[in-house]
Amino acid sequence: MPTTSFSALDAPIVLAIALIFLVPCAAGGLALINTGLGRSRSAAHSMMASLCVIAIAALAYFVCGFSWQGFAGVTSHVASVSGKPWSWLGAGPFLFRHLPLDGSAASLAALLGIFSVGLAALIPLGSGSDRWRLGACCVSTAVFAGWTYPLFAHWAWGGGWLAQLGTNYGLGAGFVDCGGAGSIQAVGGLTALSIAWLLGARHGKYTHDGLPTAIPGHNGVLVMLGCSFALLGWLGLNSAGAILYNGVDPGQTVLVAVNTVLCAATAALTAAVITNVRFGKPDASLTANGWIGGLAASSGACAFVHPAEAATIGLIAGVLVTFSVEWFELHMSVDDPSGSVSAHAMGGLWGLLAVGIFGRVPAIGESGMPVSSAGGQWLAQLIGIATLVGFILPLTYGLNWMINRLSPQRVAAEGERQGMDLYELGAGAYPEFIVHSDEFLER
């Protein structure tokens, strides 16, 4: 028997399930982008690692992730802080026990979560491309999907203390994250930054003078195809997230979809124009990064802004992503082959801030009832961003640092020289290719 407001054969259930089934397209898209922007001698390894990461993320989420993420209205650990209830962690049973998988709102959240945790776990794979050992990325993913992701997802989506900022302190509607700009994109992007820091740069990426050298992606077609798949997945992700976590009317999925497309479109075109002006020709990989950055930014406010505002959010995301890719590579010494940190972390954080700037979110007063004024929404968003940068980044860096101390996450120098395909899998993705390894020459 259904346990929530959704009843069997209800149209919203069918719509929500259909939208959730689109989400794996986003994961497939990211896997193609990560592979295309990496080296040809690590292509099979990249796709293999993507499959393993999605599989392990789903299992870890099933074992303990969803119980810690929880769902609004389901039992959780609550601390009383100055007389206000702060929900810190879900307290449901492990292994989906006592969770009716029948179309109830909680079961749909579990279904969305099992797909979106895989999407989030794929983001660090892009920054660790060409040098992250398969075993190490599997262990890191298990920790990510079993602990880091559910913790923040509970705070933002599971009725946690960030979501309660509206009812507890009158800060707008509390922290709003429609499609996972924070829970998926920023958490994944900040983990990607941690992985890039811990692994260090690829051999030959920086000269002895400290200048970065170009290691172009090996297949632009895969990258662009990945962008197309990603759009399909994001349409499902943003729409399903808005319905499930923000109570948006299913009819508003049209607005969500329009905003998602416009945000991605303006971001990609902005990136193309900027690179064309700066370099004389539009850069395909930066345009793809702009597209993904626009999608990530759209996930914050997609249900609460006018299409013109969504286009503006995308435009700013395109500028932000394009310049931050260069900034991370040139000034921060971060070797991020897929631009994961810029597209997902910077795009996601901007998307969250955009909710406070542009969003018209129905506010909830301290009595728990909707109120007309949405004042304080910007502060709720700022607190969420501060939590991501001030707590989640140190947490995910610390966890991956410990994994690295127990077993080095970076492949041996010989593995990087041979390519991850031959070294870890024993066979290459393109056996008829001749690999030129001039980047291993001393510069």
Partner: protein
């Protein structure tokens, strides 16, 4: 030379990085404490913004610690 090994060889940077991460956590603690302890809007907002400022300083230090490491081995 392996980039990760180059990082390990940089002397005296672990303390700076640790300090940066501790500042990040301290900034977040300031934000959460302001929410929990201050009822009036103005002081609460000021302390939250101060916490964000501390986080920015921490982030700059963490970034500098990684950038300096590259400079150390070049």
């Amino acid at each position: 030379m392996n980039g990760a090994r180059l990082h390990e060889r940089a002397p005296g940077k672990h303390g700076v990085k640790l300090f940066g991460f501790l500042l990040l956590l301290a900034g977040w603690a300031l934000v959460v404490s302001a929410l929990a302890l201050l009822a009036a809007d103005a002081p609460r907002n000021i302390f939250i913004l101060a916490g964000v400022g501390v986080e920015i300083v921490g982030m700059v230090i963490v970034i500098r610690s990684h950038t300096l490491r590259r400079g150390a081995h070049d």
